[in-house]
């Protein structure tokens, strides 16, 4: 059996009085891609943002349950949130590079960690950009603004920026929904490459994307997980009626 990197048991989340998540049990295996699908507003982003504690930024959020990263409860009082976010990186739906040069974007996380050695930064920038499959496109203009790139290129720079920090887990919230089909395919192929080194958790509305690249799929509906299984099994013969209806486009 594969090693479980993140486990969550009976996770509830309240925005004020509204219970957005009603008891989520999920476990994510090392070096697998897990897709999270489900209709809009069912709580996928909310759940994803629990895993790197980005919900801490929103006032009036209450979280109960047990979420463990490698056996350690990440909501324990002694958790170092800064360290957690280095272990659990995040790629957002909209490409959000800083208004700095491509190079400064990629090495940002390392500089935060106090790395000053130029050679080390250069090396990290190159490996990360290569891993994010964008090195060839930007290697001659590393010191130009990242904002001058296309949306797809920006998103890959954002992925490189996360990779440079060498996280164990990468969370992705609809990373290709703002991109054209070719850019999306490039990123999907890149994720398949990255799978051997990272545990990837991916929210997507694109069923084709989920079935093509993910090992496991979790189907969310109104704040709960209806079905969680191997992607092939789920897409070929879903156990639950609701999953089947959703996959066949009957609602959502």
């Amino acid at each position: 059996m594969k090693k479980q990197v993140i486990t969550s048991r009976d996770v509830h989340l309240f925005y004020g009085d509204f219970e957005a998540l009603t008891g989520i049990d999920l476990a994510f295996n090392e070096h697998e891609i897990t897709a999270m699908i489900g209709p809009s507003g069912c709580g996928k982003s909310t759940y994803l943002r629990i895993l790197n504690r980005m919900n801490d930024l929103i006032p009036n959020v209450k979280i109960t349950g047990d979420i463990e990263l490698e056996g350690k409860n990440i909501y324990a009082p002694d958790t170092d949130v800064v360290q957690l976010r280095k272990q659990v990186g995040m790629v957002f739906q909209q490409p959000n590079p800083f208004p700095f040069s491509i190079y400064d974007n990629v090495v940002y996380g390392l500089r935060l960690a106090g790395v000053k050695d130029r050679a080390q930064l250069d090396e990290a920038a190159e490996t990360s950009l290569k891993a994010a499959a964008i090195w060839d496109e930007v290697k001659d203009k590393l010191h130009e603004s990242a904002l001058s790139l296309s949306g797809g290129q920006q998103q890959r720079v954002c992925i490189a920026r996360v990779l440079a920090v060498r996280p164990e887990v990468i969370l992705m919230d609809e990373p290709t929904s703002a991109l054209d089909p070719i850019s999306s395919t490039q990123i999907e192929n890149m994720l398949l490459e990255l799978r051997s080194q990272y545990t990837i958790i991916l929210v997507t509305h694109n069923m084709h994307q989920a079935s093509r690249i993910s090992d496991k799929t979790a189907f969310f509906l109104q704040g709960r997980v209806v079905e969680f299984d191997d992607t092939k099994k789920m897409f070929l013969n879903p156990k639950e009626k609701e999953t089947e209806d959703y996959l066949n486009g009957r609602f959502g």
Binding site: N96, F98, P99, L112
Partner: protein, 306 residues
């Protein structure tokens, strides 16, 4: 005639209104432009008269240190050296901006990043109040509190660049702060989220992303503050000592372009050299505020291009 034809031949009410509106706004604009052009050409002709009619050398105007237009020197040339006032003006401007900027940035960070509630409810009204206080009040407080304080601590008369700097610092602080607040709140939320998600602490996020992204806006605020400090007359005049001498230190009486203008303009006869020399100072002020304006535009353009 059928009604449609009639309607077509006559201008509709809306069209008439439109024409009238355009005419009114055009008139207003023309008047404004006329006034601006008139002011510029008036100040320019008067200010340049010193150099063309009274044959004062431009370089000696900018570099000589004796300001007594009524008196001629050994060679019979009028003594209009404006350097003391130029140094005084730039001195108080830069010093007050240098002192005000860290306070303004600190206050703005508090108001946008650390405690927006307190910022909105307490600090914002305080700042708006500070902007609204007339400059004579600042000058008066400077005269009755700051000047004696400096006199007691450092000795001397208490008048001088230090007192001027202090008064201007308080005066420009609200301007710079509120423009810095605008610049910081204009930084998109997703920059902050991206930085935090990469393992940045709150302070790292503020210093490395928010301040950096807001830099053009903050600089614009600082230049605005400097323009205000450079042009402020009354409050400075009350505390700087008004001695047209090259300042030797921060607590010796000095003067600025504006303070010499306000104290001297009533005592000269139009068309005389003394009067023309003051107009030259006014021209210098005008050109400097133009320069500040261009600087602000340039910073804005540079900020946009990124």
């Amino acid at each position: 005639m059928d009604p449609i034809k009639e309607a077509m031949l006559h201008r509709s009410k809306a069209a008439k209104l439109e024409r009238r509106g355009r005419w009114i706004s055009f008139t207003c604009i023309s008047i404004i432009v006329l006034v601006v052009v008139a002011i510029f050409s008036f100040v320019a002709t008067r200010g340049l008269a010193t150099f063309f009619d009274n044959k004062v050398n431009l370089w000696s105007f900018l570099s000589k240190t004796t300001w007594s237009p009524a008196v001629k020197d050994a060679h019979g040339a009028p003594q209009v050296g404006a350097l003391p006032m130029i140094v005084g003006s730039f001195g108080v401007t830069f010093l007050s901006a240098i002192v005000a900027t860290p306070f303004a940035v600190g206050a703005a960070i508090f108001m946008t990043e650390i405690s927006p509630q307190v910022g909105k409810r307490v600090l914002q009204p305080v700042i708006e109040l500070l902007v609204g206080i007339p400059s004579v009040v600042y000058g008066f407080i400077g005269l009755s509190v700051v000047v004696p304080l400096i006199r007691n601590v450092f000795g001397g008369t208490g008048f001088g660049i230090l007192a001027g700097t202090f008064v201007l610092f308080v005066m420009i602080l609200p301007t710079v702060t509120s423009m810095t607040v605008d610049a910081l709140s204009a930084v998109p939320r997703h920059y902050r989220e991206a930085s935090l998600a990469l393992g940045g602490t709150r302070w790292q996020t503020i210093s490395k992303v928010v301040l950096r992204a807001a830099m053009p806006g903050i600089l614009t605020g600082v230049v605005f503050g400097m323009a205000r400090a450079f042009g402020e007359a009354l409050a400075v005049q009350m505390v700087i000592g008004n001695a047209a001498l090259l300042p030797q230190n921060l607590i010796s009486p000095a003067s600025t372009l504006t303070s010499v203008l306000t104290s001297g303009i009533g005592n000269t006869v139009m068309g005389s050299l003394e009067n023309n020399a003051l107009w030259s100072l006014a021209l210098l002020l005008l050109l400097m505020s133009l320069a500040f304006n261009l600087l602000i535009r340039w910073i804005g353009k540079k900020g946009e291009m990124k």
